[in-house]
Subunit: 365 residues, 2 copies
């Protein structure tokens, strides 16, 4: 298949290696592996996980749960605080599959208590420091209140405590990631200790890619649900949570202009193709992607003085060094290593694998 | 139609008013109006322009040109420097409609000269100061070189000079916008004067929404091709190029959590729903949207101390004042006024009008 416009290349071998590594780690640590499918959002890629014995998955919306349920998944956790407005869709899902919902406030649970019509698992979301959603780990009075409601409703099954240690993505070092993870571990374990008498089967679920990738201590944790690890990206590489060769995505873009006076190369590939998430480059400026060129059939990763530094809707501007400027010709294809795989995959809506296979996501389904 | 998840509401009346205003302005100034359809990307919305006598449109990619050609548009300018890798698709388009291409470098034009098979219009892109793409206005030797090629190819029709004064979007005042526009005007006119002897029919085309909205002097300009003006957004409002009531889009999102300790309200609605483009709020922090709530059936725009201030993939965090915190309940729908309409529309892929009509974009087609 000839590439003539911005195309998201996916290296299937790298993906499979990333999945295998995480699946083996989960197994070695005696953790259930419940991967987050919000990263790839694709039924075909979902199938790749089955070879590794995966049967339970995580998603981030009811729509995504519906999509994967249609594609044969029967054990799905929606890891976003329950949106009570979607109660009809939730009931429909719960009537057909094992559905787990996330709850972090009384209002939602009171609503579910009243309107749920089929058996559904309930995770209580715990905030272990990310400060986005979840009950703060020390607020056991709130947890008690939630469990009181769950206990008295036969359709609601308390599954355990779930947390997303998302502040590891903003860590300034691997050490920071270990710290955040260990802190989350202690908080989650103390909840387990407190509630295990009444709820002997309660599970603890953790899920951020940084700690899932590099931390080794998961004592007391029962389930791991990272998502980004299947593709990784520059953000993860800079955090030190993956090797460069673990990054499975490349946004391939045609060169459409060159401006020697500014040492800039312009590609067809902009903010509707790759995300506006950036990392700070060595020159203190925003970097939206690193650049790989093809030279005499060889792929060469250029150093960070050559980088995607501006995006408009369809244009991307690559800042290049004087030395490398002439490596770019109008009509060349260059590869952009994305900063944030999840958002780039969402924008592109499909992948092209190294074998030439076209893989749609939920957006093209 | 009941809204239960993030939904992009479009006020059709406001859109029609915005189109009418721009169409009338173009008419009054004796300008051809060739609106940019990259903002709405929708065949149905495209039809709304026909009532105003529009028959020629601008798009930003070959794919978008194919989509609108399939939907009955026969005069299309692709306002992105030509991507020579799409020559087959370009030839196919040129065989069926009046297609205008944008050229800003010799390599592309040499390629077109060799491989174009059907009549195509050629605009030379002029850089009037935005420094993205285009021949710098003073480099007439480059323009001469390009015109030499066009002149000798019967399939290539020189249409004129096209510029996008995109630096008006970064202006710090209306005065700045007037300055940039006037500077562009002088540069474009001097090109017209220089080349009109040899090319008496050459046109000058300008297109940014800020100057199209507030500037009055278009002497010598022949064509206006703004896009964003159909929806406008907070960025335009802050620039002073539209009134608040001209903003036609609202991202409606369910409230899923509230955190009084942080004065934060969490909505289902994140970076896959609205763009990561931000403006700087009064507190010096990034603002991703302003917030409208529904109180006793009345819509109330909250001031900028209540604003969308963080986005993850599906979560949005609204910072609220202590006073307004209790105006939000779990299960409420709030309206987010987007910072950058074009990117939000691209992410959402469809609209719901005030009349309950579902309008898909190219992404859902």
């Amino acid at each position: 298949m000839e590439i003539v416009r911005p195309t998201l290349l996916l290296d299937k071998e790298t993906c499979l290696r990333n999945i295998a590594r995480m699946a083996e780690k989960a197994k070695a640590k005696n953790l259930d592996f419940c991967p987050h499918f919000k990263t790839h959002q694709s039924a075909i890629i979902g199938e790749w996980f089955r070879e590794f014995g995966i049967s339970a998955i995580t998603v981030s919306s009811v729509q995504m749960a519906q999509y994967f349920a249609r594609n044969g998944w029967t054990d799905i956790t929606i890891a976003l605080p329950v949106n009570i407005l979607e109660i009809d869709q939730i009931n429909q899902l719960a009537s057909g599959i094992n559905l787990n919902l996330l709850v972090e406030n009384k209002e939602s649970l009171v609503f579910l208590d009243k309107f749920i019509k089929f058996q559904a698992g309930i995770y209580i979301e715990i905030d272990t420091g990310y400060n986005r959603t979840g009950v703060a780990a020390h607020k056991t009075n709130l947890v008690d209140g939630l469990l009181e409601i769950v206990k008295n409703n036969k359709l609601l099954d308390f599954k355990g405590f779930l947390s997303h240690t998302g502040h590891t993505y903003q860590a300034s070092s691997r050490h920071d990631i270990f710290n955040h993870h260990f802190d989350a571990l202690l908080k989650m374990r103390s909840l387990k200790n407190r509630y295990k008498k009444d709820w002997p089967n309660l599970k603890l679920s953790l899920g951020d890619t940084p700690s899932a990738s590099i931390c080794d201590n998961f004592d007391g944790i029962d389930e791991l649900r990272p998502g980004n690890f299947i593709f990784y990206d520059l953000m993860q590489y800079k955090l030190g949570t993956c090797k460069f060769e673990d990054i499975a995505l490349r946004l391939v873009c045609p060169v459409i202009a060159r401006h020697a006076s500014r040492n800039e190369v312009i590609i067809y590939g902009g903010a509707i193709h790759t995300s506006k998430d950036s990392i700070i480059n060595i020159d203190g400026k925003e970097l939206y992607g690193q650049v790989i060129i093809n030279q005499n059939g060889q792929k060469i990763l250029l150093d960070e003085r050559n980088y995607l530094h501006k995006l408009s809707q369809e244009h991307g501007i690559i800042k290049v060094t004087y030395k490398d400027f002439n490596s770019f010709k109008v009509g060349d294809l260059v590869e952009i290593v994305p900063v944030h795989s999840c958002l780039t995959a969402n924008l592109m809506g499909s992948y092209l694998t190294s074998d030439g296979e076209y893989i749609p996501t939920i957006r093209q389904a």
